[in-house]
C-alpha cells in the first residue's frame, strides 16, 4: 500500500503548525517562547504559500515566501532587541512581570 503525499497533507500540516503557534502565543508567558510561536505561525503561512504555488503553478507564492522570511528576520532583530531591553529592567523575560499599565 502506498501513501501519496499531496497538497492536502501539506495544508493540513500547515494548519496544525498555525494552531500550535496561535496556542503558544496565547498560553506561554516567556517572551522568547511567544516569539518562537509567532515564527511558527509565519512559517505555517509559508508552507501554505509554497503548497498553493506548487499546486497552481504560479511563481508569486514562492516570491511571497522569500519576502515573508525577510520581514520575519527584520521583526526578529527588533523583537529580540525589545526583549533584551525588557530583561535589563526586570532581570526576567516573563511577560507577567511587565504589567505596570492597566485599566
Amino acid at each position: 500500500m502506498t501513501l501519496a503525499v499531496g497538497p492536502g497533507h501539506y495544508l493540513f500540516l500547515s494548519a496544525i503548525l498555525f494552531t500550535i503557534g496561535t496556542v503558544g502565543v496565547l498560553t506561554r508567558r516567556n517572551a522568547i517562547i511567544i516569539f518562537m510561536s509567532i515564527e511558527i505561525m509565519l512559517n505555517a503561512a509559508n508552507l501554505a504559500f509554497v503548497t498553493f504555488a506548487a499546486a497552481i503553478g504560479d511563481l508569486a507564492g514562492f516570491v511571497m515566501v522569500l519576502l515573508v522570511i525577510a520581514v520575519a528576520a527584520a521583526e526578529a532583530a527588533v523583537g529580540l532587541a525589545i526583549i533584551v531591553a525588557m530583561f535589563r529592567h526586570r532581570q526576567t523575560v516573563d511577560v507577567g512581570a511587565f504589567n505596570v499599565m492597566r485599566g
Binding site: L11, F18, G21, T22, V25, A31, I34, F35, I38, M41, L42, A44, A45, A48, F49, T51, F52, A53, A55, I56, D58, A60, G61, V63, M64, L67, V68, V71, A74, E75, V78, G79, A81, I82, I83, A85, M86, H89, R90, V95, F98, N99, V100, M101, R102, G103
Partner: protein
Amino acid sequence: MSPIDQLLELHAMSRPAAFAVLPALVLVVFAIVTLLADLLELGSSRGPAEGQAGPTIMAPWLAMTGTAIAFGAVVWQWLRLEEEAGLYFNGMIALDGFAVFLTGVVVAATLLTLLLTVGYSRRHNVDLAEYYHLILMAAVGMVLLVEAANLVMVFLGLEVMSVSVYILTGFRRTQLRSIEGALKYFVLGAFSTGFFVYGIAMVYGTTGTMDLAEIGTRIATGPPAPLLLAGVGLLVIGFGFKVALVPFHMWSPDVYEGAPTPITGFMATGVKAAGFAAFVRVFLSTFDALADQWVPVLWVLAVLTMLVGNVAAIRQDDVKRMLAYSSIAHAGYLVVAMVAHNALGTAAVLYYLAAYTAMTVGAFGVAVTLSGRGAERTSISRDYAGLGYSEPLLAAAMAVFMFSLTGVPPTAGFVGKFYIISAAVDAGHVPLAVLLVVASVISAYYYLKVVVAMYMTSPSSAGSDAGPTHAHLGALASTAILATVVAVLGMGIFPGEWIDMARASVEGLATAAARLP
C-alpha cells in the same frame, strides 16, 4: 536595439513609474540622508565624548524638509492625477484619487508629528538621528500601504510601517513603560501579522493571484469557497489588530500610554489612516462580491468598538489613555462608514480620516507641549486643572479639539459624523446610525471632562503639588497646533470643498476595481 536605445526606453518607462511613488521615494532618500548626516555630526565631536551618539542638530530639519517636499509631491500627483492615474510596477502600485488623498493625509500627519516632536525630543533625550529616520521610514511604509494594489505590497507596506513604529514605541528605553508598550505592541503586532499572512495565503490558494483587482474579478462569479471565506476572516482579524477594533484592541491603551507622546499621536493618526486605507481598498473594492458575508461581521465589530471604546474611555484620567480609547471609538465610527457600503460611506471614510487626523494630532500636540523635562504630565484632573488661566491660548485650542472629537458643530468632527450617519441611513442601517449617535453622547462626557478641568477647576483645589502646568511652546509646536486648529475649523465651516475632493477620490477607487474585464 543598441544599449543606448534600451536605456532610453527604460528611462521612458521609469519616469511615470517613479512619479507614482514620488512621495515614498523622497521620504526614503531623506531618511537615508538623515542617518548619513548624523555620521558627519559624529565626526565633529558633539556628543559627551568624541564619536559618541549625542543630540542631533541636523536630523529634525532634514526630516521636516523631506516630509515637506514629499507633501509637495503629493500635491503634484493630485494635480496630474487625470493623466497619470493607473497601475504601476506590474500592478503593485495603484495611483488613483483614493491613494493620493490618503497619501496626503499620512504625509501631513508625519509633518505635524515632526513639528511637534522637536522640542519634546530635546526634553526627553530622544533627539537621535535614528528617531527621525524611523519616523520617515514609518511614513514610507504608510505611503506604500495606501498605494498598494497587490496583497504582497499591502503586507510589505504594513510591515515597513509596523516594524519602524515598534522601535519608536520603545525609544525611551530607560523607561519601563516605554519598553512595556513596545513589548506589547511587538507581540500583538507580530501575532496579527501571522493571521494576516495566513489570510493572504488562503486567498491566494483559492483565487491563484494576489493582485487586488484580479482577485475581485475572479471571485465575482460563483459561490465563494470555504477556504476563501476563512482567508477573508483572517484578514479581518489582521486589519482589526492594526486599526484596533474591539475585540482586537487590548494592546492599544498600554502602547499609547507607554510610547513617547508625539509617537502616540503619530500612531493614532498616520498608522490608523494607512491601516484603514488598505482595509477599505481590500474590502470595499476587492472583496466587494463577498459583501453579504463580511458586512454582518463588520456590523458587529463596529457596534462593539463604538460601545467598548467610549465606555472604557470614561474611566480614564491619563489623557493619553483617554485618547487611546477615543481612537478605538473613532475606528468604530469609520467601520460604520464601511458597513454602509456605498459611495457616500467611502467618501465619508476619507473625509473622516482627514478630520480625525487633524483633531487627534492637535490634541496630542497639546499633551506634547505640556510634558515637562522628564515628566510627561498627562493627568487630566491634576495637570490640566486651571490650564484655561495659565495657558489660555493652548487651552482654547484643546477645547476646539475636544469639541471636534465629540462632534459639535461647526467643527470637522461634526461634519464627518454627519456624512457617516447619512451614509449608514442611506444604506438602511438605521440602528447602527442610532448607536453611533448614542456613542457620541457618551463620548461627550469624557471629552468635556477635559474642558471642565481646564476652565472650572484651579490647580490648588485639584491637589497638584507641582503648581499650574506650563507649556513648552516652541515656534514649531505652535505652528503645528495652529495649523490643526485652522484645519479642524476650516473643514468644519467649509466642508464642501473637502467632501467634493473625497467624493472625487472614491470614484478613482471604483474605476480601479472595474478597470479589468
